[in-house]
């Protein structure tokens, strides 16, 4: 039984970026940085998929399959068929 997934689900389309810097502000792990007038991913591996960047990018340049990085919540969700939650 193997799960061959990507390191994380963060995807960024620089074409859509207008350089508002919002992603660099909301990310709690400094994943985004500015390169001139556009944002760029500088610490891809540090992404914890919290979804703050996607939610706050006004131009839809960022997509991430956000969710809780908690083993117990994921297993509980798998067992009960409900949405994963911390409570």
């Amino acid at each position: 039984m193997k799960f061959a997934g990507p390191l994380n689900t963060l995807a960024y389309k620089p074409d859509l970026c207008t350089g508002c810097e919002m992603c660099t502000i909301v990310c709690p792990h400094g994943v985004f940085g500015m390169n001139g007038r556009k944002a760029e991913i500088v610490r891809y591996e540090a992404c914890m998929e919290c979804g703050a960047c996607q939610k706050n990018c006004p131009f839809g340049a960022i997509a991430v399959d956000s969710g809780v990085g908690c083993a117990f919540a994921l297993m509980k969700a798998a067992l009960t068929g409900k949405k994963e939650s911390c409570s």
Binding site: M1, K2, F3, G5, P6, L7, N8, T9, M22, T24, I25, V26, C27, P28, H29, G30, A46, C47, M48, E49, C50, G51, A52, K55, N56, P58, D65, S66, G67, V68, G69, C70, A71, F72, A73, L74, M75, S85, C86, S87
Partner: protein, 299 residues
């Protein structure tokens, strides 16, 4: 312990129409951290109903979110109290709040302050957060603060396991169980960065393996019986208790500030079956050993 703050609009000092507006969760520790950071200032605080959950977790659940914020702005009549249209939110509210949607729906511009309320005075000087203020920390202090919750949370499971362990293997097994649980809940959070391997599960297997060593030694030195019996007994303890530590270690992913769902999913698929097989195998072997001891031929 009362942890809930009544949602609504609060005045800190004697705020005017020009005073800044901060947004917080209705969890006392979140609200108090904000109030302490703003001590001596005049400010408005909008407290959202997050079901007494802290800002970050509530943002992840969506209760510290766009809808609740827009609704609370309306309900409190905030526009009548302030002349400006800016809100300062904790940065960790961002996973639940869509800043541009809040502006479109309520007219208020969302400004994300620092991660930690304690950095607010510094932030307010320039209305800018340094990159250090924008990042969550997970140092020894933060990890230590979590250990009581981890230990208490696991002790509910420990009680029945301890009783079974006592009847199956005596005090030595009970102590092994306690050690395995404390390893996963107390030692693991503290030692996290220094344990070998990358994944929580492997780190947990390693720690569990180390912690069980003195108990294995005790089995060989203190327990009566044949050499083969001691070997089997040791094997049972390894199979049952090492995965307990590893499982608790895997569970600690939910308490950290950096694990992603993708990474945790990968870990569960890869290592949970190993834990389950070890534990299950250990329990079956223990039952067989007990049955043999009770009914087996004594030739």
């Amino acid at each position: 312990m009362k942890r809930r703050v009544e949602p609504g609009l609060y005045a800190l000092g004697s705020p005017t129409a020009d005073s800044a507006v901060f947004v917080s969760a209705n969890y006392t520790l979140s609200f108090d951290a904000l109030r302490q950071a703003l001590a001596g200032r005049e400010a408005w605080i909008v407290v959202l109903d997050t079901a007494a959950i802290n800002v970050w977790c509530a943002a992840g659940e969506g209760t510290f979110g766009t809808d609740e914020l827009v609704r609370r702005i309306e309900e409190t009549g905030l526009k009548q109290f302030v002349g400006h249209r800016t809100l300062i939110l904790p940065q960790l509210g961002a996973p639940g709040v869509c800043a541009h949607e809040v502006q479109r729906r309520s007219g208020f511009k969302v400004e994300y302050g620092p991660v930690r309320a304690a950095d607010l005075p510094e932030y307010l000087k320039l209305r800018r957060a340094s990159s250090e203020m924008r990042q969550v920390r997970f140092g020894l202090r933060e990890r230590l603060a979590l250990t009581p919750v981890e230990v208490v949370g696991a002790s509910f499971f420990l009680a029945p396991i301890g009783v079974i362990a006592y009847f199956a293997g005596g005090w030595l097994s009970v102590f092994t169980a306690i050690a395995a649980v404390l390893a996963g809940t107390l030692a693991f959070p503290i030692l996290l960065p220094w344990l070998p391997a990358k994944t929580f599960s492997v780190k947990g297997f390693f720690l569990g393996g180390v912690v069980i060593l003195p108990f294995l030694l005790a089995i060989f030195l203190r327990r009566p019986g044949a050499w083969t019996f001691k070997m089997e007994s040791a094997l049972v303890h390894i199979l049952i208790f090492v995965p307990v530590t590893a499982f608790l270690a895997l569970g600690f992913t939910g308490s950290t500030t950096f694990t992603s769902r993708s990474a945790v999913k990968r870990e569960i698929y890869r290592y949970f079956p190993i834990m389950a097989w070890m534990f299950g195998g250990g329990v079956i072997l223990a039952i067989v050993m007990i049955l043999v001891a009770l009914f087996g031929s004594r030739t």
